[in-house]
Symmetry: C2
Subunit: 327 residues, 2 copies
């Protein structure tokens, strides 16, 4: 038996503030087994890592053993791939700098890569999704925040300290909306869940005489606003038009600098589809540098939510050097 060939699987771990999912994934992206635990149940990071590693070992033992696992990839908020740490995550039970890769590696004896969610999503698209075969692309993950990750010549552009990719925190309106990062006018404040709802409220206020389905909604959300778009509601459509005008500006500026082959949209809000991407494309083409105009594909992720999280984490695992734990 060839020892190397037995290492035909990886473990993917997707950590969010509420829930952590563990999966065993093979070379072709089949999710062989999956299990969840409640992130919030663990007041200390040590307790969390102990339980996480136990669960990984148990799950692997139930499916041909840990010897078939090559490496582990983790997708986590505010993760820095260069250091393998989670750094001051906003929505997690644990604060400060958490050296997660080292902690897991020491318990499991496997190489561990820890990447932020946009990085993991980009790896998932590259290995198993819409970016397969692409060397230069941008992934935009729109949900509670606006995350992004840049592929440069076939590799994730990490930057000097691993903090690259903050397209969501480029300034699109000087002195504009207050952002959680402390600045004003960040793209994210116009193009995330809260920002889209705020834009809808502004519009309802500005155009009090325009009838709109939005006025009778119990709950304004990107999803309910999108549903009103589908019914032809003018203010709902205008909400996404303004959102797309901001996103188009931010993406044009990044594309003039990066000249990507494609921009791939993922995350809940990308489900607004044409209502968002249409106006984004229009502003983008008006503002991007002429040499790049008309050449950048805008694609929606072909992975569903479960695939995106688990295949993203597993793609990070395949990208880790197997023997990095011996360095």
């Amino acid at each position: 038996m060839n020892f190397e060939l037995t290492k035909s699987r990886v473990v993917g771990v997707d950590i969010s503030g509420n829930q952590t999912t563990i999966g065993i994934v093979d070379i072709r992206g089949n999710i062989i087994a999956e299990e969840s635990m409640t992130t919030l149940d663990y007041p200390t990071i040590t307790a969390f890592v102990n339980s996480l590693c136990e669960n990984i070992v148990t799950l692997a033992e139930q499916h041909d053993g840990l010897a078939t696992v090559r490496s582990v990839g983790v997708s986590a908020p505010s993760a820095n791939y260069l250091t393998g740490s989670i750094v001051n995550a906003a929505n997690m039970p644990w604060t400060g700098v958490i050296p997660l890769a080292v902690m897991m590696r020491d318990q499991l004896g496997l190489a561990v890569g820890v990447a932020n969610d946009a990085h993991a999503a980009a790896m998932g698209e590259k290995v198993y999704g819409a970016a397969h075969g692409m060397k230069n692309f941008i992934i935009i993950n729109i949900g509670a925040g606006l995350g992004s990750c840049i592929f440069s010549d076939g590799h994730v552009h990490l930057g000097a300290e691993g903090f690259a990719g903050e397209i969501g925190h480029t300034c699109v309106v000087r002195g504009g909306r207050q952002c959680g990062c402390g600045h004003r006018g960040c793209l994210e404040t116009y193009v995330n869940k809260r920002g889209i709802v705020e834009t809808a409220r502004e519009l309802l206020d500005e155009q009090r005489d325009t009838p709109s389905l939005l006025r009778s909604l119990d709950h304004l959300s990107p999803r309910t606003i999108k549903e009103c778009c589908d019914q032809g509601d003018e203010l709902a459509i205008e909400t996404y038009r303004r959102t797309g005008a901001m996103l188009g500006l931010g993406l044009a500026n990044s594309a003039s600098v990066l000249d990507p082959e494609a921009i791939i949209f993922t995350g809940g809000i990308s489900k607004a589809g044409k209502w968002l991407i249409g106006p984004t494309r229009e502003t983008f083409e008006n503002l991007v540098f002429p040499n790049t105009r008309g050449k950048v594909k805008m694609l929606l992720s072909i992975l569903d939510n479960r695939e995106r999280d688990m295949l993203g984490a597993s793609a990070v695992a395949w990208d880790v050097e197997e023997y990095s734990l011996f360095k």
Copy 2:
């Protein structure tokens, strides 16, 4: 005699609208010989390339022979490194797409790399200058235009079609000044030779009652305005302050996306030094994503103009695969 070791030199060629300079450069960046020709003397690109290659051969024969030359690097406006072509250069006698690398390679029998001026300047800084040892940095070349080039993990980020690096054409003012690229509000329209003079004129107009040395100048230029800064002139200082505020915004947006180790300034206008870089730094730190704040070095190129052009071109030559002509 070891054949490989004789290939210890490269030829650098710097092409501008007026003049073309050829140099022979050794591994350590010593310029062994140099010669110029007048670009405008050649109405056709064929005549230009014929003469250029003859001059290269003659210069090499006068200095130990062409056999000592490993490869050729060319710095030219509007060059695309991926295709080796000059594409629609604005200030050159020849129009359209010029496959310069192939034309020169066929005549010389040497590998030839053709890069735009910002790319060549970045290579010069990486190999012989302020970026030595850096893997992630941005070079900003401020003169008649605002060129830039991005190093990602030790390599130039070219983008999908070789057009990356247009920080000068990111939009900093929606509907702002008209740019030569056809758009409005590009960073370049505020931070290049013409843009700085325009800002000074606007200020003189806005503040008619403020006395200023600028009013008595025969010729407003970035250099004369800088000289007035040195004499403490308020409006001259304010001119560079406004310029730096625009540059700081554009660079903060790029740095939030790229997380560079350093930004290196070159080109005539970078000689304004503290008058430009001071206010640039101030706005930059106010707007860049917090994880990157306070970490990005801002450096002035340590190469003089002659070195920048010739060492930039020669660094491109070292970067070309020696046997690429046999592919």
